[in-house]
Subunit: 281 residues, 2 copies
């Protein structure tokens, strides 16, 4: 039986198709793998992502990367933390880009582990463009996004045939004025599932704007904290009361909110759910 | 070094927490794993999904499941095709549910391989509810959805910090009257990235309704056929002309369309992309 590890399609980005010899540095360039590490459960890493992680000379990782994944790196690999904690000084994106480029220019193979999927609000596009600019070969390895997997682990499908023909994932970037404002009225009108990747503190504002935009206050909603990990907690309610319920339950980051009729499907599945022996509330 | 395969969070659905003994059948029940097999590249399967696939007594699989994945099943495993081809007679969902239940009631371990993610327009919710109904233990293993990974393999991030705070994934279910109609005006107003999981034949209608709903006809768009496989092909244009361009290039199913400014990021990355030695257009 063939192993899929040795027999899969590959996706490689080579500057101008010229192979791995980097004329800009006069030497052999390394390569960077932008890898989605998934939402928390380390076994939700892809086979391809794990293969590249195990082969890397250098691993750059974010704050929410599961330590079990880091143990998969080679024992002689360099581990570089580039995470940003809430309220802490954070490493500027430009500095992360510089490390990626400089490590690769030394001929090293770099695994850049990003939580979830690199292209879902993960600034993977910015890192990819920096690598293009520096003529560094790279490859993108998609990951399981928390936007879909965290509800799944709480028993909530983001789509269900009788209810939904669309789902929307939104986030907020309050620190950056270039981001367009969210059109809450359009979100309310759309009527599909809504997944909000913002902290619990944003919930009163988010739900108020959705209701002002015309969303039925009785629309089911759930907040899930630390989804796919043994610490997962879920609180359910409606758009009208979910912010208060989440506050009462003292839910905290990382958390996401899912809004829509699919939350009712989750109710039907809820008593079947346990994670590492615990019942998710 | 520990292996993540033996040291991860687990997510198990047990009827009433009563373990695997199924009183309804008077014997030891099997278990069903609803596994997302990813978008095409077999190495985009998760570590967890591959582990369950390799351990299964029975494998139920859809039309677009990569044959390399099926080779990972045990040599004595039963492989059951339950796929639906376009224009062909298809197995009713109720029959698939019945097979899942009956195999598990015989005490077998069943891997249900579904393309992409089980809960993204995959009717995984319906299968999960059927298992709840029959009191069969089951587990959901998220998969990489084509909605995100296919654009990634074409160099297009579904979000990019300067452009987007949201993305929406839509599909069509013309055969089922219960599905709500898509609100094209709300989609146009929302302004984020739009990913359309419909066939190329639907594109003239989709783009016309988006433009009538107010979307700028100059909005960048791309159609990607057989994404993440060696046969991947990409055509780019605008909402105004992408349907004609896709038709001219004779793109066919399976394909998806991505609409939004992020397609421009893809232009910057496009000449870096090759798959199995081929340049994606």
């Amino acid at each position: 039986m063939r192993s899929i590890e040795s027999d899969s399609a590959t996706q490689e980005h080579q500057p101008d198709g010229s192979g791995s010899n980097n004329e800009a540095t006069g030497g052999t360039a390394g390569k960077v793998y932008l890898i989605g590490a998934g939402p928390g459960d380390p076994e939700l890493m892809t086979v391809k992502g794990l293969r590249y992680l195990r082969g890397a000379d250098v691993v750059l990782y974010d704050r929410l990367i599961n330590p079990d994944l880091l143990r998969e790196a080679r024992s002689d690999a360099s581990l570089i933390y580039v995470g940003k904690g809430p309220g802490c000084h954070s490493m500027p994106q430009e500095q992360i880009n510089t490390i990626l480029v400089s490590q690769a220019q030394q001929g090293l193979t770099v695994a850049r582990l990003k939580g979830g999927d690199p292209f879902v609000f993960g600034r993977g596009g910015e890192e990819a463009l920096a690598l293009v600019e520096a003529q560094i070969p790279f490859e993108i390895v998609p990951g399981i996004t928390s936007a879909i997997a965290v509800p799944a682990y709480a028993g909530i499908p983001v789509t269900h045939r009788d209810y939904t023909t669309s789902f929307t994932v939104i986030t907020g970037h309050k620190g950056r004025s270039a981001s367009p404002a969210v059109n809450w009225r359009a979100l309310a009108d759309l009527g599909g599932t809504l997944i909000v990747l913002m902290g619990v503190k944003a919930l009163p504002d988010v739900t108020r704007q959705l209701i002002e935009g015309g969303l039925d206050p009785a629309t089911p909603a759930a907040v899930i904290q630390e989804g796919t990990t043994p610490q997962q907690r879920t609180v359910t309610g409606t758009v009208a009361d979910i912010a208060q319920r989440a506050a009462d339950a003292q839910l905290d980051s990382p958390a996401l909110t899912i809004i829509g009729s699919v939350v009712n499907v989750g109710d039907a599945l809820a008593h079947y759910i346990s994670i590492s022996g615990r019942t998710a509330e």
